[in-house]
Amino acid sequence: MTRLAESRRRSGATSTGKRVSALAIPAWLPLGGILLVSGAETVRVTGAHRELFFNIDHFWVLYMLLPFVIGIVVYGLVRRSRVWRLGKPIVSGQITRESLRSAFDDLPLRLGRLIKGGGGTERVLRDPYSGVMHLCIMSSMIVLFLVTALLAIDDYIPVDILVGPRYLGYSLVADIFGLVGIIGVGMAIAHRWVRPRTAWLPTWEDWLILGGLGALLITGFLVEGLRIHTSEIDVNPEWSYWSPVGYVVALMFSGVRVSAALDIHQVFWWIHMVGALSWITLLGYSKLNHLILAPANAFLKRTSAPGKLDMIPNIEEQEHFGVSQLEHFSMKQLFELDVCVRCGRCTDNCPADIAGQPLSPMHIIQDLKSYATAVGERKVANLVQGNDLNFGLDDEAPMVGSVVRDESLWACRTCGACVEACPVFIEHVPTIVDMRRSLVMEEARMPDTVQGTLETLERQGHPWRGTPYTRDSWMEGIEDRVPEWTGEQDYLYFVGCTGAFVDRAQEITRSVVSLLREADVSFGVIKGMESCNGDPARRLGHEYLYQILAEGLIELFNETGVNDEQKTVITHCPHCFNTFLNEYPDMGAKFQVIHHTQLLEQLVNQGRLVPSSEVPEQTITYHDSCYLGRHNDIFEAPRRILEQVPNVTLIEMPRNREQGLCCGAGGGNMWMEEQGKSRVNEVRVEEAVATGAEAACTACPFCIQMFDSGIGTVQLDVEDDDKLKVLDVAELLQAAAVSESD
């Protein structure tokens, strides 16, 4: 495998994730200190303990309620699971061994995600504020749960664990984490109050979960304070210092007569306990279910590269194309809808939303969830009653077109920023593309620009309608320097449609050829015969056209000896790269794939390319192409090339690497009219300009075009010489490493 290790997906760990979780550590240091010192102190006190059901009669009622609570939660989840089971098994057809295998492949990766992403809430920690908030609430709940369980266990086993210093330490830990929980809940409420965003105005769920939890924690302290006031503070005052919050509460009640305090204690005890049990039932009926579902979804997330779209097998025999009904989704896609906690991270990172365009991935998931609740449950009822699945549902607004609007589906760049941001591992992109598939293949309903692009792909084998060029125009004048592919060389340089038909991209193609020649790489080009690999058709939702184009290209690769494990295809387009690397194996591809930045980095490291000539001194910012970076984890190769070019200083935009912002072209938007307040490429160009860099470098021909057109409007009034320059990494390297002008 020459596919570089870098191109493999890491388990989802990200540098930002690590940075912020490290950030959270200092917050815990003081706490650790307190615990240590107190631990030493407790040793001096002996005999401290407390009674489990102090002042409470009929406490057995609680134990009676417990099975009910568990039953209510399980009922809620099982009921919901019937909606999930409307979907298709993960592969297709029946739940087969194959579909199970696909849900459990790559177990170490899945378990790693379950532990780090689910249990460790890795992605939540990326944002300092919500990270700390969530950590407070989560740690408090875990500790308090353990504390309560321990107390109950202690009561029932013959030996007493919780006596003396151990009891006091226990008491202190419980108090501290109760307080931590209150802080967390306070932060969460403040978050909703201070930074309310119309996009995610809090609903009853939020208030019930947060308000409920806050009330539980406060009543817990009241109960504790009253217990201390009535039974501890006068008898064993030194014990009560180990419940600092309870002690303060006790002091507040110091004027209350003991007999009255005992009554109040009983009331709050019951409120606290019954409240806690009721609150737990929310697990089955609200977004609190993420405690259970989020780790499960971390486990279920696809293990393939995030940029991969799944194939529709035997497409000619399908009863429907793509998704227009709930039951066309996979079980996992329906399950996912219920996992969403409405946190808004996906939308905050969505380039379309940032540019004020009509797409919010959170709303897509949420709207589908409401639809699954309303219509899904009726479908389930139809099944139970033996009716037709869609009985009585004819008047419902269509899911695609009304619940999710066409323009939202078209505005998606398939850039994966939402998928990367989602703390509960929801995969929005396949869901969005599945609905596009239905629009295009089932209903033939699409913007004119999309139709034009698809027609051009069908007829001319490339998406560049109206281009004045032919496949070989880029080599005019240098034909003899472009080696023809003979089947003998190691590398096939796949120029791709953009590299061939778009003037600006033709320059990149020529730079790549000149670098490969300079480094004496054994390579060739299939002249005149290439055709599109199908990526634009696939992202636009035309899976059938994708399969036809891909079959055609694989046939060409078979005939010309490219489709061989020993051969490697070089692409300079991240979209070709992603399709070849991640999607062509499904179509029978055996060849290796390398992106030009990966190969060029190797050549520089091997000393076969020496970036020695002085390029003008300049500051450069690198723009990550989504299909290279986020989708295929190639972040460093292009940066390391830039770092080795003399006189170049590399600086980063605030959104970089995994959090990089799309240029706006992905998902077929290269060929569409944008709708909305501004254009995505303008937003990104503004970010690049704000770094103060003289040039932006990227490794994607689409990004270059998007930047060029964005600069046209963003820097309309700037003198040409002062405008941001946009270069492919290969062009800069050529300037530094190739002396002859090729």
Partner: protein, 267 residues
């Protein structure tokens, strides 16, 4: 209402100029590499018009006829995928080398063979040779009223109201049925076929008809029956001369440009 649409398959008009080649000796257009021939865009619009008439009238059929080599079947299949009912392919070596007249003759025989429908629709012209005569000749041969270069077609009872594109505006005309119509690009975009229809169309049989099936003698059609003789086929070359107009200020440059245009007698 029954409609027949005659369609032609042509080299893709979007073929970039650099890829367009002719064989001057054989007087033939060479197919461009990697670019498949397509249904003439005006003809796709004609199919769209036919489908709308069928939809508006609530019943009837839309049948397609195309004359041409094997590959013409794709133009028929495309029309079927758009929603047409049956396809007829006039395929015979005897048709080779024909002109607008022989094509119209063969088409009119085929139409009579299938049965003259209520409406016969053509594209205003085939986007390769751009002659724009076949529709009118068929109307003459079948002795039917016709309206050409239409931007809108509407059913009104048994008659048809159309809007013609003329030099200084539009002309609205009412025609009785049966009649012949030719559709212009102003009519609007043809529909994009649904995948299911493409697949159904792929499985549908296309009826093939030869000259003798239509009762035509080989001497009446193709090169033998043609009334137009081609003398030469070549690609015109055009020379571009560039003159940069110098000037220190935009005003001077503009003045220079006006002078240059006056000299070239453009202004």
């Amino acid at each position: 209402m029954d409609v027949i649409v005659c369609v032609k398959q042509i080299p893709d008009p979007e073929t970039p100029a650099a890829a367009f080649k002719v064989d001057e000796a054989a007087m033939q257009v060479l197919p461009a590499q990697g670019i498949s021939p397509v249904i003439s865009p005006f003809d796709a619009q004609a199919v769209e018009a036919a489908l709308r008439i069928k939809d508006a009238s609530g019943d009837g059929t839309v049948n397609i006829i195309s004359l041409g080599p094997d590959s013409a079947r794709d133009a028929i299949k495309h029309s079927l995928a758009m929603g047409a009912d049956e396809g007829y392919h006039l395929k015979d070596d005897a048709f080779d080398g024909g002109d607008a007249w022989t094509t119209a003759l063969a088409l009119s025989k085929a139409i009579q063979h299938i049965g003259v429908p209520d409406v016969l629709i053509f594209g205003r012209q085939a986007a390769d040779w751009d002659q724009g005569t076949v529709g009118s000749i068929v109307a003459e041969l079948l002795d039917l009223p016709s309206a050409t270069v239409l931007r809108a077609v509407e059913l009104s009872g048994d008659s048809i109201t159309v809007s013609r594109v003329v030099a200084d505006g539009f002309e609205n005309v009412e025609l009785p049925t049966p009649c012949v119509l030719t559709i212009s690009n102003e009519f609007g975009d043809p529909r994009y076929p649904q995948l299911r229809q493409i697949m159904q169309a792929a499985r549908k049989q296309v009826t093939e008809l030869t000259a003798s099936d239509l009762g035509l003698d080989a001497s009446e059609v193709g090169a033998a029956g043609a009334r137009v003789q081609m003398h030469a086929l070549y690609q015109p070359t055009s020379d571009v001369e560039v003159e940069i107009i110098e000037g220190d200020t935009p005003e001077e440059k503009a003045a220079g440009l006006v002078n240059a245009l006056r000299e070239a007698k453009i202004l």
